[in-house]
Amino acid sequence: MEEGVVNEILQGPLRDVFDSTQLITDVSGSGNNWAVGHWTYGSTYRDQIVEQVRRAAEHCDCLQCFFLIHSMGGGTGSGLGTYVLKLLEEEFPEVYRIVTSVYPSAEDDVITSPYNSILAMRALTEHADCVLPVENQSLADIVNKIRHMSHSGKGGSIIKKDSTVISSQGGVSGVEKPFDAMNNIVANLLLNITSSARFEGSLNMDLNEIAMNLVPFPRLHYLVPSLTPLYTLADVNIPTRRLDQMFSDAFSKDHQLIRADPKHSLYLACALMVRGNVQVSDLRRNIERLRPTLPFVSWNQEGWKTGLCSVPPVGHTHALLALANNTCVRPTFTELRERFTKLYRKKAHLHHYLQVEGMEQACFTEALTSLSSLIEEYSQLDATKGVCMPEAPRLNIAT
């Protein structure tokens, strides 16, 4: 809702990829105010948005999925973004909606980000098919880790130039800007998720399969992503050990794109998308190796969804994307709720929201309730962790 970012894209090397009719901008922005983004701009641009989306959809032979990419902490991405999400559900109910949301870290500089995030969460829980949460702090940590490795060059190993998950290898832009490295990680996430749809492989994993296999209950659709390897060493020979290391890393908390520790929480489901020269036996060996170390929910003890794509990402020989539906998102949400409550108790900045037409106090309370019940659902599942659940008695057939 302000022109700066979009204009920059239009002047950059990607200007030919976007068509001016695909752009909707305004002038003044949303002022980091979810209500302004959602209600004010939502109602103003509703028809235009529907029109443009419809037009783009008509060009498709077969529309399978919408990707919504936004942040939770601001005003436009969060507010107008969730408005668009609701719109997409109304207008295209059969098309999957996969949302990549950048969650604000604790040290976020936008004061009202907890409000914006919680208000947006409700829409995500109710209207998205899958959400891939990403946290700025995790991205920054990964970037630092890679930079550190590049500069220190651990004992003889040298990182192959431009084959890190943060380099825009294969991309078209020139000068690197501040958030570029972190954004590259998210871009790589999206590339890996769509790789099976774009390239051939011996075991394809399409986007609708992700939604099907990783969402056991409609509201629990928050999938924690992790990408490995973060970089490729200059050593061309890839011993099996290194391949196995890639799998192990996918489950370590340093490689998750949100601040969470899935290994110590409960897995509801997990997907592994492998790219490159990896065969089904490598996949099986690693699953068998790692499985005993990961706590899975009682009714999904072998709950793995796997995909093999033959084409690796640019600059790598192989790559792995892990998507986990894991209760480790609960602490993230709980912390977000605490930050929200801190502000809400004091009614800080509330007037900015309530004075927007369409916004009511109820929006806040309902959003809070929605999040609390989501946290409760995750808690109940967590409580079953480690508890030996008896198997459901089988049907008795009269012989």
Partner: protein
């Protein structure tokens, strides 16, 4: 004398392509002209310049695999798929059985029937239909089931053999147990026989017998199609002087003697890498002895057989009480297929032992033996045993158990209900399979 193959879904198409490749190679290398002609007639259409076109239909709900499959076949230079023999859509079935069965099946029924009809019309005489699919996914399992139902309606007098791939135990698809349960329970109603290959078992064969270090799906499919080819290539059944003209029909009547028992497993010996093959010599007594013990001890391959397990005849009065001797795999019927040098000297008496079978069927009807003196797929001697036995009981029980456990929490059921499969439908499927498990347990 022709067989039409219907390949559905990624697995079905990948296996199918490898299948025709094996058939073509085997018959092209055969020195027996009669064998070669019979095989070509059965599985291929011959064009004016002796080019071979497979009698097959390829179906998938997304285009990549079919394009790959067709290209791979064409690249061989020896055979190809028909130009208009495929049907695909764009969006896939999302691993959702309900989507494949209740949405895509009915929606594209006309088109598929048409494709099959056109292929069938090009056969002088249709003697059987083979379908290939996996149990774990959405298209193969869901739409494959629906298509089988349609084919049964359209060709009521033709034998339909469903070849299914059982997924790895440790999961390829999270909802694979649901998809497997739904598929098997429905297929049981209208399929003639369900021939099963388990990925886990085939994987072991690749690892231990073929010595492959990095096993790919290609390797797995080569083993599966070696097995299939050894059953379906020309062979003398009974004591006739010409190759069987109704292989699939005779297959059914040898193995499926009771409608409650339709699950078939397959064992083949010897299996090894081509490098080892060059240095190996075989004799029929050795091969058959191993094969018999593989059956009794329910081993999938000739390594690691438990020789301590013995066949024990169940007395007639034991019927009704499930007997569980330690690891003994009782059979209802067996089909032994021998190919290669000196087949006439092979002594198959070991398989006629009544102790192997259930007491309530005459032994003569329980064992059939086919043979061909033409060596198959590079093996000087090769023996295959297709069994209707308790082999698959453990896997079936495990799959149903896991699916039931998941169903108890109602996990993922909303995904199926979205496309019209209700809780009632699930319960019906579970009931059918519990009955099958019970029937096989009590042998």
């Amino acid at each position: 004398m022709s067989v039409v193959t219907v390949q559905v879904g990624q697995c079905g198409n990948q296996v199918g392509q490898e299948f025709f490749s094996v058939l073509c190679n085997d018959s092209s290398n055969a020195k027996d002209k009669l064998y070669k002609d019979c095989s070509h007639e059965r599985f291929f259409r011959e064009g004016p310049s002796q080019d071979l076109t497979a009698r097959a239909i390829l179906i998938d709900m997304e285009p990549k695999v079919i394009n790959q499959t067709i290209a791979k076949a064409a690249k061989s230079g020896k055979w190809r798929y028909g130009d208009k023999a495929h049907f695909c859509q764009k969006q896939g079935s999302g691993n959702n059985w309900a989507n494949g069965f209740s949405v895509h099946g009915p929606k594209y029924e006309e088109v598929v029937r048409d494709l099959v009809r056109k292929e069938v019309e090009q056969c002088d005489r249709l003697t059987g239909i083979v379908t290939m699919m996996s149990l774990a996914g959405g298209t193969g399992s869901g739409m494959g089931t629906y298509i089988t139902q349609c084919l049964r309606d359209a060709y009521p007098h033709t034998s339909i053999l469903n070849h299914v791939t059982w997924p790895y135990n440790t999961g390829e698809v999270i909802v694979q147990n649901y998809n497997s349960v739904l598929t098997l329970s429905h297929l049981y109603q209208f399929s003639d026989a369900i021939l099963v290959h388990e990925n886990d078992a085939v994987h072991k064969i690749c690892a231990q017998l073929m010595n492959i270090k990095h096993i790919s799906f290609n390797d797995i499919n080569k083993v599966i199609t070696h097995h299939l080819g050894s059953v379906l290539q020309p062979v003398y059944t009974a004591s006739s002087s010409h190759y069987s003209r109704n292989p699939i029909g005779e297959f059914m009547s040898s193995l499926v003697n009771h409608p409650e028992y339709k699950l078939l497993s397959i064992r083949n010996i010897p299996q090894m890498s081509s490098t080892s093959l060059a240095y190996s010599v075989f004799n029929w007594p050795g091969l058959l002895r191993h094969l018999r013990q593989m059956l009794i001890a329910n081993a999938g391959m000739e390594e690691g057989i438990d020789w301590a397990v013995r066949a024990q005849s169940a007395s007639k009065s034991d019927r009704g009480r499930p007997t569980r001797e330690l690891g003994f795999n009782r059979s209802l019927a067996n089909l032994l297929i021998l190919r290669g040098k000196d087949v006439s000297s092979a002594e198959t008496g070991g398989f006629k032992d009544p102790a192997l079978y259930v007491p309530w069927l005459p032994v003569e009807s329980a064992i059939s033996s086919w043979s061909s003196s033409v060596p198959f797929n590079g093996y000087e001697k090769s023996a295959t045993l297709v069994s209707n036995s308790q082999s698959l009981l453990r896997s079936l029980n495990s799959t149903v158990g896991k699916a039931w456990n998941m169903f108890a929490s109602r996990a993922y059921t909303h995904q199926y209900m979205k496309f019209g499969i209700s809780e009632e439908d699930f319960l019906d499927s579970f009931t059918v399979l519990e009955q099958v498990i019970s029937s096989y347990s009590q042998l």
